[in-house]
């Protein structure tokens, strides 16, 4: 069947990002889902609750009293050996914080769509990446989607990634709040049978409920072994890029759509490039197309996997460029830009030659990021490529960070 599936012309259906996530969850048919509402994620759980009520899934839906409890319920259920999912946003992820570390530390392959939204204060319901970037050191794998199609495809692949016996790590599938979560777009969906054949059965190595093979979960671990256990938690992260690529290759073979750790858009022969993740990558592609039509050697890297950070693969692609602009949809509060910038810049440190590299913080609290904004970033990169610094004084290599589209 696998060789012929690729030839199938699939019907495109209209789904929002939230509907695409819920649709994928329905097809995955998890054993347990814990649900707590938060804008702009609420729809995912609302739609999924309908699937439960209508008997379209066999899932045990646990309605809890907070996101802290949602992740706690997921931890208990996944430790018992059940395939477990939830979804959240913003303050909800923040409230899960201590449980995120526990899920990863216990090597529990929980899968969670995460609808990116700004963090309070001030209160804001719109998109930025402050929430997921705050969870970057928790031990969760993080995938980012440009559109509703990628949300759907990433949720399905996430099950295989999380449950891979070499990883057993929780996976967060990020989608931009409202911009993707509430926008209707064409999505090519697969049949339930295709999805279930692709993800396979959940085969947990251990189960709390297996009384014949008792295990200890969540043991006290002081100066004697804590360090060794934390060190061992890094090990699967070191292999995770391989597993993510294997799953993507299998996905491409079965369904015909190819995914990478990051997408290279017009990188061949590029002099300079933007690195960005999420929906903004789509807008940036339009700018790159126009620049290339004018003979300007602009490129774009769309980061799909942020955890683990594909530092070597990225550096190999970026090191030969003249200039790189990293766009962050969150503020690192470090006084030197955002988290994606820090990591891309760090990845390039040992390379010689290496490009000039600058940071643009944009879109906080849902501020629109326009074609003009992205065009100014490429203009800056052209100046930096030519002169080593920006001619208009907006950005220089010595002055790393520009706030794009803010009133100052």
């Amino acid at each position: 069947m696998s060789s012929s599936v690729k030839e199938v012309v699939r019907k495109r259906i209209a789904l929002t990002g939230n509907e695409a996530a819920a649709w994928a969850m329905k097809q995955i048919n998890p054993d347990v889902v814990a649900a707590y509402p938060i804008t702009p994620q609420t729809e995912i759980m609302q739609i999924f609750a309908d699937y439960v009520a209508d008997g379209e899934v066999d899932t045990e839906l646990v309605t809890v009293e907070s996101e802290h409890s949602a992740m706690s319920a997921c931890i208990g259920s996944e430790a018992a050996g059940a395939r477990t999912m939830t979804a959240t946003s913003s303050q909800g992820l923040a409230l899960m914080w201590e449980m995120l570390y526990i899920a990863a530390g216990l090597r529990l392959p929980i899968v969670m769509p995460m609808v990116n939204r700004a963090l309070s204060s001030p209160i804001n319901i719109h998109c930025d990446h402050s929430d997921s970037m705050g969870a970057r050191d928790t031990g969760w794998i993080q995938l980012y989607a440009e559109n509703a199609q990628e949300v759907y495809d990433n949720v399905i692949q996430a099950i295989r990634i999380a449950e891979h016996p070499d990883l057993l790590l929780p996976v967060m599938i990020n989608l931009d709040g409202f911009i993707i979560s509430h926008a209707l777009e064409p999505v090519e969906a697969f049949t339930n049978e295709e999805v279930r054949a692709f993800i396979g059965k959940h085969k947990p190595a251990y189960s709390l409920l297996d009384v014949d093979n008792p295990i200890t979960v969540g043991a006290l671990d002081l100066t004697d072994y804590y360090f060794e256990h934390k060190r061992s938690e890094v090990e699967p992260m070191l292999h995770a890029t391989d597993v993510i690529e294997q799953v993507a290759a299998d996905f491409a073979q079965k369904f015909g759509r190819r995914y990478e750790l990051f997408d290279e858009y017009w990188m061949e022969g590029a002099d300079f490039a933007i690195v960005v993740l999420g929906s903004t990558a789509g807008t940036a592609k339009v700018v790159v197309d126009e620049l290339r039509n004018r003979g300007i050697r602009a490129g774009l890297i769309k980061l799909r996997v942020f955890r683990p950070f594909p530092h070597k693969q990225l550096a190999d692609v970026l090191s030969g460029l003249k200039a790189v602009a990293v766009m962050d949809r969150s503020e690192g509060m470090a006084g030197m830009g955002g988290p994606v910038f820090h990591e891309v810049r760090s990845a390039l440190y040992d390379y010689e030659p290496r490009p000039a590299i600058v940071n643009y913080v944009y879109g906080l609290g849902g501020r629109d990021i326009t074609l003009n904004h992205i065009n100014t970033v490429y203009e800056d990169l052209m100046d930096i490529s030519r002169n080593g610094k920006h001619a208009k004084g907006r950005t220089t290599v010595g002055d790393l960070v520009t706030y794009l589209g803010v009133r100052e």
């Binding site: 209707l184 064409p186 807008t283 339009v286 326009t370």
Partner: protein, 192 residues
């Protein structure tokens, strides 16, 4: 992307501006084109000015910024004119379609149109007579299709019927009322 068409819907909370954009998006997709449909999310109150948007193209659409220069504007509520800048970004060859019982000439002056095509239809009356309530969004779909010819009319009716049946299957009167509303607005919209 040169064939990209962008539409902005103006309405008041409760008039169905979001649903209109979603229904139109589905109809576009049903005809094999690519589309986006999305509302502007702000304070969501009944009666407050709201907007929603469509993008339509023959190829995949990757833009995810706001729509700022729509070539088509649909106004669900004439009291928004003056209260909201409905012609903002509308180019001289653009199209504006207004739900009103007043003569088009009044709006042409008031909006200071410079070449844009103006269409009017009394969608509120049509909605009251067909659906039983002043929900002007579906009749304005009919007016939009007549004014822009962006989709095939018969296919759009069939698609919308399917979508409404899925949502209001237990209330056949709602489906028939809305379809009738679209058909009447398609017939009654006039160019002014």
């Amino acid at each position: 992307m040169s064939d990209l068409t962008e539409i902005r819907w103006h309405g008041r909370g409760g008039q169905g501006a979001k649903t209109a954009a979603l229904l139109f998006g589905e109809a576009v997709l049903g005809q094999g084109k690519y589309m986006q449909a999305f509302p502007e999310y702000g304070p969501e109150r009944m009666g407050a000015p709201v907007q929603s948007f469509n993008r339509i193209s023959d190829g995949p659409i990757t833009l995810h910024c706001h729509v700022t220069e729509p070539s088509v504007v649909v106004v669900l509520d004439p009291t928004l004119i003056g209260a909201a800048d409905v012609t903002n970004g509308l180019p001289p060859d653009g199209i504006i379609i207004i739900n009103t019982d007043r003569p088009a000439s009044e709006f042409r002056r008031q909006l200071g149109l410079n070449g844009q095509k103006l269409y009017t239809v009394d969608a509120s009356r049509i909605a009251r007579e067909t659906i039983g309530r002043d929900i002007p969004n579906t009749p304005m779909l009919g007016a939009l299709v007549r004014a822009t010819k962006l989709v095939n009319y018969e296919d759009m009716i069939a698609d919308t019927r399917k979508k409404l049946e899925a949502k209001f299957g237990s209330k056949p009167g709602v489906v028939e009322g809305n379809i009738k509303a679209i058909q009447r607005a398609y017939e009654e919209v006039t160019s002014g």
